[in-house]
Amino acid sequence: MTDVTASATKAPAGALRRLLRRKLAILGLAIIAVVVLGALFAPWIAPYAPEEQLFDGLTLEGAPLAPDATFIFGTDLLGRDLFSRMLYGAQTSLVIGVVANGIALAIGTLIGVTAGFFRGWIGGGLMRLTDLMMAFPALLLAICLAAIFTPSLWIVAMVIALVNWVQTARVIYTETTALAEREFIAAERTLGAGTGRILFRHILPHLVPTVIVWGTLGISTTVLLEATLSFLGVGVQPPTPSWGNIIFENQTYFQAAPWLVFIPGAAIVLLALAFNLVGDALRDVLDPTQRGRD
């Protein structure tokens, strides 16, 4: 029972097709597609401009309007249409969640792999740097950096990337050291494979599942970090909406106007969930040893 010999698995016909065989992955992809399309076509879908403070968007007392036929997600405290803001906010949140998180992952992976693969002073130095960053209050660093540069979407993305790579680096480091000890790496060396080949052809592909897991899990935390930064005044500047800053702007109103908090909250959870579902499936699909199981 130890080795189930060559089953009838045919040569792979593209990871995508296998991905599409999984129901949950399809659900995840569908959610992502909806969000991406919503973000891309926001100018055509959104009934109002995202920053337009509508004359009829507030009650006489200045309270926001609950969801109804005109404003399907209700309005916010400035009388803006929440649905439109959510659509445009998706642009920001996707950039932050995908780009900032992607850069953080890239930095973390690079540093983790380098430190794990090249021991000695390079690895030691990089890991001390990681320790230093870990001991550093990330929020403070973000605030200082963002205050020194003028906050804009891309600066915010960079700042988030800069403070968010540490955990990834730690995890990747641990995995790389373990991988470097594996026998097939030794086998590659006996073939005369150079460092570059071993790194790129044999170490990195094995890190893909970890990177995917951290990448998907990181999306919601990054989106929320952007929101925190917005709240501290160093994030994406108003009136540009992001899902995170919509929550933060309105969080104290969770009782008076729950839709202002729970609709964007649900959107973040859903997006994170979608990325996780796809990530989970992707990890299995990309791992040839998992194929044909479960």
């Binding site: 920053e51 337009e52 403070q53 507030l58 009650t59 006489l60 007392e61 200045g62 309270a63 405290l77 400035l78 009388g79 605030i143 205050a147 003028t150 906050p151 917005s230 709240f231 501290l232 005044g233 160093v234 500047q237 108003p238 009136p239 702007e249 104290t252 109103y253 009782q255 008076a256």
Partner: protein
């Protein structure tokens, strides 16, 4: 000339400020009981020479007394530790006659020595008092240091003479400021820099307990020199409470007054509930919210542009956004301030006219600029409303939504083209029109790092301001007319766009007693601790 202040309604000399009838306490007031007040931010210090925050201002007022005081719930002066005072003909020498038998919390009797020591201390640069500048009219202020103020002299243990270098109509108000509180030298010496944590004064309450970051407890001063007050045995200030949470606790009866007011998120809910709304006290306050425009840099160096900004604002809408908790403003002074120009109409909301002005100034297509705003609710929202109004006339203002310190820095350094003053806005230190001028509109504050964020400096107006302040009686109609004139002229130059004057809303628990005015006391915010009481 000697004026008896407290006891008698003397034949008033017109040369000195009129003093109002003293306060008559509520006959139903009962002594005893304890109340709980909450704040979000920690209390920094209770040193009267240093404390200058929202939270500690009223606390210090209840622990310390100055020579002058205000009638509770009003902006009228009344005597404090000075029973009476004389003013020389030239208006330059005040002689204060101290109340005998007033004791510090440590039991020692207060004397003229203490008065001089306190004034010397607050003006000594070593003390780093943010209020030192208020005493600028006292003789010898420029050379203030360890040797003290040459203008303050002890005549006898109950008499102090203060010489001014120039007439100062607001001087008695200055003597009612916290910064002028009388402190005992031995306590300051004992605690040194930590005096602010161990305050000793002559006030209605003494500090009984201070657990940093958690609570302060005030206990009634049994030997308070004002008979019959205070009523409360104890006041507990709980700090670190989010305003929304504080209000929830108030609704459950755990808190008596939320010090930070009713949070915007709860305002409509509270006002919709008749029972709760009946416990909300509304009052004016000496506040103006405004936009500064840096007049030294294009495009705001053009007066047309600044006027256009004034005309672009839809102030009604902005007021609506903060749930109607303000009234639109058309000039720097708030309506309840003496010297407010009632007949001045200001700039009406007129986007078309504003566009024309912009075109005249050479900006037919508008321009791009930045609006700095402090990052606490509701300021970013107000700024976005302003942003939309500006966009309607073609001005694209991007927001710089920053921490207080960064906004102040940008404003002071002159790098901020526009600043929305909310959160850092001007609440008058004392009810006098001059208080809105000096550091925030006058040349004195226009330098690098000054608080005049418009960098507006009109020397002619400065001269006029000096003249107005040289009156002996601050309420002299001629003086007030001069000030009205100054502010109207400022509006003509439009370095500011006044937006609204915020109203105060204080919510109290059902058991709190005392007339409403005590809960919107213009000087002691949120409430006048010395006169409120518990009904049960």
């Amino acid at each position: 000339m000697k004026h008896w202040l407290a006891s008698t309604a003397l034949a008033l000399c017109l040369a000195v400020p009129a003093l109002a009838q003293d306060y008559t306490p509520d006959p139903n007031a009962k002594p005893g009981g304890a109340i709980v007040i909450t704040y979000k931010d920690d209390v920094a210090t209770l040193d009267p020479a240093i404390g200058y925050d929202w939270q500690n201002w009223s606390m210090i007022k209840s622990i310390f007394d100055g020579l002058m005081d205000y009638v509770p719930g009003s902006t009228a002066l009344r005597p404090g530790l000075a029973e009476s005072y004389d003013l020389s003909e030239d208006g330059l020498t005040f002689t204060f006659h101290l109340r005998p038998g007033v004791k510090f919390h440590n039991g020692r009797e207060m004397t003229a020595e203490d008065v001089k020591y306190s004034l010397d201390r607050v003006t000594n640069p070593e003390t780093q008092s943010p209020g030192a500048g208020f005493f600028g009219s006292i003789e010898g202020f420029e050379n203030a240091g360890p040797d003290g103020l040459s203008g303050v002299k002890i005549i006898d243990p109950l008499t102090v003479e203060i010489k001014l270098s120039r007439p100062d109509a607001t001087f008695l108000h200055v003597m009612a400021l916290n910064f002028a509180s009388v402190v005992p030298k031995e306590a300051v010496d004992e605690y040194g820099a930590d005096f602010g944590k161990h305050p000793v004064g002559t006030g209605a309450y003494s500090l009984a307990e201070w657990t940093i970051g958690q609570r302060l407890v005030f206990a009634r001063n049994e030997t308070y020199w004002r008979a019959g007050v205070p009523y409360l045995d104890q006041i507990t200030f709980e700090v670190g409470q989010e305003p929304v949470v504080a209000l929830l606790r108030l609704q459950k009866g755990e808190v008596d007054v939320p010090g930070d007011g009713i949070p915007p998120a709860k305002f409509t809910e509270v006002m919709a509930n008749p029972d709760e709304a009946s416990r909300v006290v509304e009052g004016g306050q000496l506040h103006t919210g405004y936009i500064t425009m840096n007049v030294t840099q294009p495009p705001f160096d053009k007066v047309e542009v600044r006027r256009a900004v004034n005309m672009a604002l839809n102030k009604e809408r902005i007021v609506q956004i903060i749930n109607g908790r303000a009234v639109p403003a058309n000039q720097p002074l708030p309506p309840s301030m003496p010297g407010y120009a009632k007949d001045y109409k200001g700039y009406a909301h007129d986007p078309e006219g504003a566009k024309k002005l912009l075109a005249d100034a050479g900006y037919p297509d508008g321009f791009e600029t930045e609006l700095y705003v402090m990052n606490t609710d509701p300021n970013p929202r107000i700024a976005q409303a302003i942003q939309q109004d500006l966009a309607a006339i073609g001005i694209k203002a991007s927001l710089q939504n920053l921490a207080q310190a960064n906004v102040i820095e940008a404003g002071g350094a002159g790098t901020a083209p526009m600043v929305w003053s909310g959160g850092m806005g001007w609440i008058a230190d004392f009810p006098d029109p001059s208080n809105f001028y000096g550091p925030i509109l006058g040349c004195a504050g226009a330098g690098e790092g000054g608080w005049n964020w418009s960098k507006y400096c009109n020397e002619a107006l400065d001269a006029e301001a000096v003249k107005a302040d040289s009156f002996k009686d601050p309420s002299d109609p001629a003086r007030l007319a001069m000030w009205s004139d100054i502010y109207v002229k400022i509006m003509d130059d439009a370095p500011w766009a006044p937006v609204f004057n915020e109203q105060r809303y204080t919510m109290k628990s059902p058991r709190m007693g005392g007339e409403d005015a005590l809960y919107v006391d213009p000087v002691s915010i949120p409430i006048n601790y010395d006169y409120v009481f518990i009904k049960e």
